[in-house]
């Protein structure tokens, strides 16, 4: 380590622990389309053997919709990813998830937009960070909620990490 704080210039200044308040809401700026790389490739990369995610013929005429069904945790990971700059750029660690729900089928070509509300803010068991619990939603291009989850993140306190 050097004397210079490790994150000078590399991360934003508006997303330290002190910047979050209970009830705060955000629609995240960037949305993302789920297609070959995001579902077909990653689902196989993570060894998910359920071929409905990567065999177009297996899902033809499915009641869940025609064609490859996106693995729910790909939708969940994309939702978390789309929130990450605003919610975890100054995080020390991801603590956990809870109440993860996949509400509607997602297919290749669908576009996810992420929304966040801050549920709680608590001290951590270390002085230089605090714990923030978020509620996230992922919506598709038609406005339907496709996934929702709660997520707990350990986030740096500006008071300890930014030289005044």
């Amino acid at each position: 380590m050097t004397d210079t704080p490790p994150d000078v210039g590399l991360t934003g200044d508006g997303n330290y622990f002190e910047d979050f308040s209970v009830g705060q809401r955000m629609q995240h700026f960037r949305s993302a389309t789920i297609d070959e790389v995001e579902n077909n490739f990653i689902t196989k990369q993570v060894m998910n053997t359920a071929q409905g995610h990567w065999n177009e013929e297996a899902m033809r005429g499915s009641p869940l919709g025609d064609g490859r069904l996106v693995f729910g945790l790909i939708t969940g990971s994309m939702t978390v990813g789309l929130t990450s700059q605003d919610t975890a750029e100054n995080a020390l660690a991801e603590v956990g998830l809870d109440k993860v729900r996949f509400r509607k089928p997602v297919h290749h070509g669908d576009t996810i937009t992420a929304y966040t509300e801050v549920l709680s803010i608590d001290d951590a068991d270390r002085d230089d960070a605090g714990v923030v619990r978020f509620k996230h939603w992922g919506r598709n291009q038609g406005g339907d909620v496709v996934c929702e989850l709660e997520r707990t993140v350990l986030i740096k306190r500006r008071s300890h990490w930014v030289a005044s």
């Binding site: 994150d7 995001e38 053997t49 729910g72 990971s77 809870d98 089928p105």
Partner: protein, 168 residues
């Protein structure tokens, strides 16, 4: 000659479990394991728009006390679920959700993850007689047998239908 082959004579090498295959308390050690590489982490984190320097900038991660980038916990979670799919849900039904996902410690490039589940509960579906509901507790460990992540997952699971007259 190919056009003389009786394709129906090749029995399907089926995979997966159905509702009747699960009993409460049953242990299911999952297949394969997975060494998560730097490449896995970089591809997954970038493809899911998770450009966090803790996952993608090794010098930044080292300045925060790690020896290398921290593998994106969502990649770890996806991999653990992936390893469990054949045993738990491949032929069962849609993935509905999970509870109490806890990331217990960081995973680093080169770490090897193995997964195992325990059947917590099996019950009938009141509205759909052809499916049941199963809850599992899944744990994943690294190569030092340290707990990395655990969670509970509940799914609708298709029942194996009773044989009918005329079945072979």
């Amino acid at each position: 000659m190919a056009d003389e082959i009786d394709w129906d004579s090749f029995p399907l090498a089926r995979k997966g479990n159905q509702f009747q295959d699960f009993t409460e308390g049953q242990s299911l050690p999952h297949h394969w394991g997975r060494t998560l590489t730097a490449g896995d982490n970089a591809i997954f984190s970038t493809a899911t728009c998770n450009w966090n320097p803790m996952h993608l900038n090794a010098e930044y991660a080292k300045a925060h006390g790690h020896d290398d980038v921290v593998v994106n916990p969502m990649l770890v979670l996806c991999t653990v679920v992936g390893l469990s799919v054949e045993d738990l849900s491949e032929v069962g039904g849609p993935f509905l959700g999970m509870e109490d996902v806890t990331f217990h410690r960081p995973v680093y490039p080169g770490d090897t993850i193995t997964a195992a589940s325990t059947v917590v509960e099996t019950r009938e579906s009141e509205s759909r007689p052809n499916v049941g509901i199963v809850t599992w507790h899944t744990e994943a460990h690294n190569q030092r047998n340290e707990l990395v992540v655990d969670y509970r997952r509940t799914n609708l699971v298709a029942k194996r239908r009773a044989p009918k007259d005329g079945d072979t």
